[in-house]
């Protein structure tokens, strides 16, 4: 990274200052400062998030929605404040449309186990070949229970959804389209606006798996007119174990509750129980309060950095990374869609991804290897897995140089 060039632009923060906000980026791995290029698995956490969570535990810790006492009210305000914060982060007009979950996986399972219960034999659920297992298996389980059929939109050689096929598969039988917004394995940014418009023209609601989208760009659920949107906090610089489901009010109100317990009820009697209003109807038990508050702080942090800075830094890393890696003899990039997030999946000659990842690890470079929880997609390309480098705005060109040098070394060792 050219530090002078970056800091001389008024809109670009100094990269050193930026990185100093992320303590884990200073971790040493095998005696070298880590080049953390596994952001699609989980992103590092800035001080703003860590300190906000610590403040909650140190000074505000109390249960929410329960106490008359001051600390409980402070905690409730912080928790519900984070709900409003996440609503505005996603462009939702009503905070009641935000349901806190353990993450994207639980958000999708929630929809499958509530909205999906209305499906029956003859109905169809449309997913794609590039889905993460978390957007495949809940629908398979639902299919087994309801008899609804799972249909799979194919992916092209470049890693794009086959939109023509998608349109042909849409029919009166389709009850839901459940698609990934940005592919974790390939980096492809799917044309969700068009997909939603097409689905809606047939009266079909759409759920998007936004886990890999929200760390990279502003998502506006109102503008997209999406029915359900799911995300994980830990991929957007927030804590692990928390995420959310956005749902349109009309869907959420019509859906039955899923998990039962405290907080989700209005009245409990052995003769029968009545349920709380949304969003609380879907939040049984004491939630991950610190996590939710931390996720809100992460949203603040990202917007403070600014979407333009995030986009321009990531675009630079993607372009530079693609150039550097493509120049390596025998390296093949898997996923070459024109619209991509800062993810580069690749194979190095005939070397097994596990071997490449092991050599890179010894050099202090963290990448992901394997099937990335997208086994059907790997099967589609006839490969066991890939090596994946995924960038965040705090990564640098120097780290990509280290990756490229590490790959040259791995190639000579593994030839």
């Amino acid at each position: 990274m050219n530090l002078t060039a970056a800091s001389s632009m008024t809109s670009q923060p100094d990269i050193g200052t930026l990185r100093s906000q992320f303590p884990a980026l200073q971790t040493e791995v095998h005696g070298k400062e880590v080049a953390y290029l596994d952001n699609a698995a989980t992103a590092q956490k800035p001080l703003a998030v860590l300190e906000r969570m610590e403040q909650y535990y140190r000074r505000e810790n109390a249960n929410v929605h329960r106490g008359v006492h001051t600390m409980s009210q402070v905690a409730t305000d912080a928790y519900e404040g984070a709900r409003s914060r996440m609503a505005s982060f996603l462009g939702a007009s009503d905070p009641r449309e935000i349901i806190f979950t353990r993450g994207t996986t639980e958000a999708i399972n929630l929809v499958a186990n509530t909205f999906g219960l209305g499906f029956s034999s003859g109905d169809e659920i449309l997913i794609s070949e590039m889905e993460h297992h978390s957007n495949i298996v809940p629908w398979q389980l639902l299919s087994e229970r309801t008899g609804a059929r799972l249909r799979v939109v194919p992916v092209t050689d470049e890693g794009e959804l086959d939109l023509e096929e998608f349109r042909m598969m849409l029919s009166k039988r389709t009850k839901l389209v459940a698609l990934v917004h940005v592919s974790n394995s390939l980096g492809t940014i799917n044309p969700v606006r068009r997909i939603i418009a097409d689905a809606h023209s047939m009266g079909v609601p759409v759920l998007l798996d936004g886990a890999q989208a929200v760390p990279h760009a502003k998502v506006d659920v109102k503008e997209l007119d999406v029915d359900f949107y799911s995300l994980s906090s830990h991929k957007m610089f927030g804590p692990t174990g928390v995420g959310l489901l956005y749902g349109k009010t009309e869907h959420l109100e019509a859906m039955p509750p899923w998990q039962g317990g405290g907080d989700m009820i209005e009245q409990v009697d052995f003769a029968g129980t009545t349920f709380n209003e949304i969003p609380h109807k879907f939040e049984a038990g004491t939630p991950h309060i610190a996590g939710v508050i931390g996720m809100g702080a992460a949203a603040d942090y990202m917007e403070d950095i600014g979407w333009e800075v995030i986009a321009s830094r990531e675009q630079d890393l993607l372009t530079y990374g693609t150039e550097r890696l493509a120049a390596i003899d025998g390296l093949r990039i898997v996923g070459t869609a024109p619209q991509k997030a800062a993810v580069i999946s690749f194979l190095l000659g005939n070397a097994h991804p596990y071997d490449v990842g092991t050599v890179l690890d010894r050099l202090g470079i963290a990448v992901r290897t394997g099937h990335h929880c997208t086994q059907p997609l790997m099967k589609r390309y006839g490969i066991p897995g890939t090596v994946r480098a995924s960038f965040a705005f705090y990564n640098t060109r120097e780290e990509i140089d280290r990756l490229a040098a590490g790959l040259e070394r791995a190639a000579s060792m593994l030839s």
Partner: protein, 144 residues
Amino acid sequence: MSTLDDRASELVAEFELFDDWMDRYQYVIDLGKELDPLDEAFRTDDYRIHGCQSQVWLQPGDSAGSVHFKADSDAQITKGLIAILLRVVNDAPATEVARADLAFLDQLELKEHLSPTRKNGLDAMIKQIRLYAGALAARSAASN
């Protein structure tokens, strides 16, 4: 000292010749290339040890109370680690192999590869080797 301990010390001494970690890995990879080939007929699901990332195939065998395994992997580092393990256990008495703690792997500082979380099938392979050796030892003891 047992057969296994002798062989393990020899390996540890060999690895100590390398100062640089990358050279050690290169040596592991090279040892893998020298591994006796596994017949294609044994590269099947029946002989496969499941690992999430790299696959391992293990063909057990024995003669005169000693074990003799052949094995292979689709990943070169895993294959090299297999070669190291087999150099220590192959043609050693089953009784010794069954109770081997394979502590030398700690000294090679390669044990990180042998944890279940590495998902490369090696950990499961060691369990299989011990199980097989244990069964063989029990059989020999019964027939004696």
